[in-house]
Amino acid sequence: MTTNGKRLVYADNAATTAVLPEVLEAILPCYKENYGNPSSLYSIGTRAQETINSARETVASLLGAQQNEIYFTGSGTESDNWAVKCTAQMMAKSGKRHIITSKFEHHAVLHACMALEKEGFEVTYLDVYENGIVRPAELEAAIREDTALVTIMYANNEIGTIQPISEIGAICKKHGVLFHTDAIQAVGKLHINVKEQNIDMLSVSAHKLHGPKGVGALYIRNGVRLPNFIDGGAQERNRRGGTENVAGIVGLAKAMEIACMGIDKNTERLTKLHNRLIDEILKIERSRLNGDRDLRVPQNASFCFEGVEGESLLLYLDMEGISASSGSACTSGSLDPSHVLLSLGLPHAVAHGSLRLSFSDETTDEDIDYIIRVLPGIVERIRKMSPLWDAIQRGKIDKDYNIIYD
């Protein structure tokens, strides 16, 4: 893409994506014609209800679920909160107050778990090790009599590593423990079948797959009597109050349909781009790829460059027309770099120099070429003025990258 002759490369698709023209086209009639309240009896209302029903069927079939197992929500975060907090609430009645999750979940799950800890729940945060993958044997060993829920993300939002969801599903089934997965970075990128993979609850978000913002879904397996998270009217079969975001729901279904139908084609194409990018970028001295080299979605490549601070890297990239993100403290609005990067065992000083490039079906060969051409020069420019890089080159750092002063 170019604007005023300047190349623009949007490489932050894990943050959000552009709405596809087909999706926008599907959404517009919901505002212009079928704007009626889906709970009403007149035709513009019933037509709105029909579009929701049809969207529900689409989403269900793409996940291998039944249509009455899909509930639309206001966001992926809401879906995660509903699954985690309300499962805890439900299971606490039978004395089960233990939750198993991982150290590098999205904040929607992590902070929900922390909120439960304050209410007396016990949470086990599994290690993800250097490669960013939960070990199923450790997860099984952590299951106790009073375990209420296992919640492990499908693919990590910052580093793209894919978790062994089928194995975890089988373990949870064997032990009779409910299993939720935040699949927000996996839906439309990986083939998912909730029945075959023994998933009890699964969170979806529309805007990560070229759908609109402000809409998500939660799959809840029939038989799981999850209490409501949002009380209100009779919408979503009495389980999620609030007048339906009809346009959002239609957009979610349309975007998900396009994404899921294109998984094989996109995976093949993006894997090639992704591998080329990684091979080229890792030629930069003292750079590293975050997370497993192979068990990752090809839409995500996360790197660290020693001696470089992430925010300045992003700002210089933006000046060259590349939009990306970083897990440095300066971009997270806190003092610490991202919990995901720290969970891989990276020293703070290295985690500050992270760069996440995330792609979509719209990413082209030329985009990747451009990044490969521009990025090394920016890293070099930053390193030239970095006293940390100077110390690294002189061997004057300890194992935590603190500078050794003579």
């Binding site: 003092l335 500050h352 970095s386 500078i403």
Partner: protein
């Protein structure tokens, strides 16, 4: 969070980047764990700072404040340089986002640290003149 145009201009074209060979004073503040390190070199001629250069590992604000601070003290007397406050650096940059104020503090400290080193090299105890400066320390991040 958005930076002012002035911050972006100094970040895009930082002034006085680099090292000074045979400097009269070098100061370094911040630490890698927190993600900010500023190193400042000064050359002193009589009581004037005749040259100043910096190297910074840090965010856009860290680089911009380093650049602005060097501009503000270049050619000034040591006394004037020591009077430079973080607030003056911020004002010269048309402000900083609240979470970035610490970068301007670091810039002020970097200057003081370089001047301290200058006095130390001349066998003069800098503390009564410059005051206490937090050394580049490990594992503690200032907001």
């Amino acid at each position: 969070m958005a930076y002012s145009e002035k911050v972006m201009e100094h970040f895009a074209n930082p002034r006085n980047v680099g090292e000074i060979e045979n400097p009269d004073g070098v100061g370094e503040v911040g630490n890698p764990t927190c993600g900010d390190i500023m190193r400042m070199y000064i050359k002193v001629d009589g009581d004037k700072i005749s040259d100043v250069k910096f190297m910074t590992f840090g965010c856009g604000a860290a680089i911009a404040t380093s650049s602005m601070a060097t501009e503000l003290i270049k050619g000034k007397t040591i006394d004037d340089a020591l009077k430079l406050t973080n607030r003056a650096v911020m004002e010269a940059l048309d402000g900083l986002p609240a979470v970035k104020v610490h970068c301007s503090v670091l810039a002020e400290q970097a200057i003081k640290s370089a001047v301290s080193d200058y006095y130390k090299r001349r066998g003069i105890d800098p503390t009564p003149i410059v005051g206490e400066i937090p050394e580049a320390e490990h594992g503690h991040c200032a907001v």
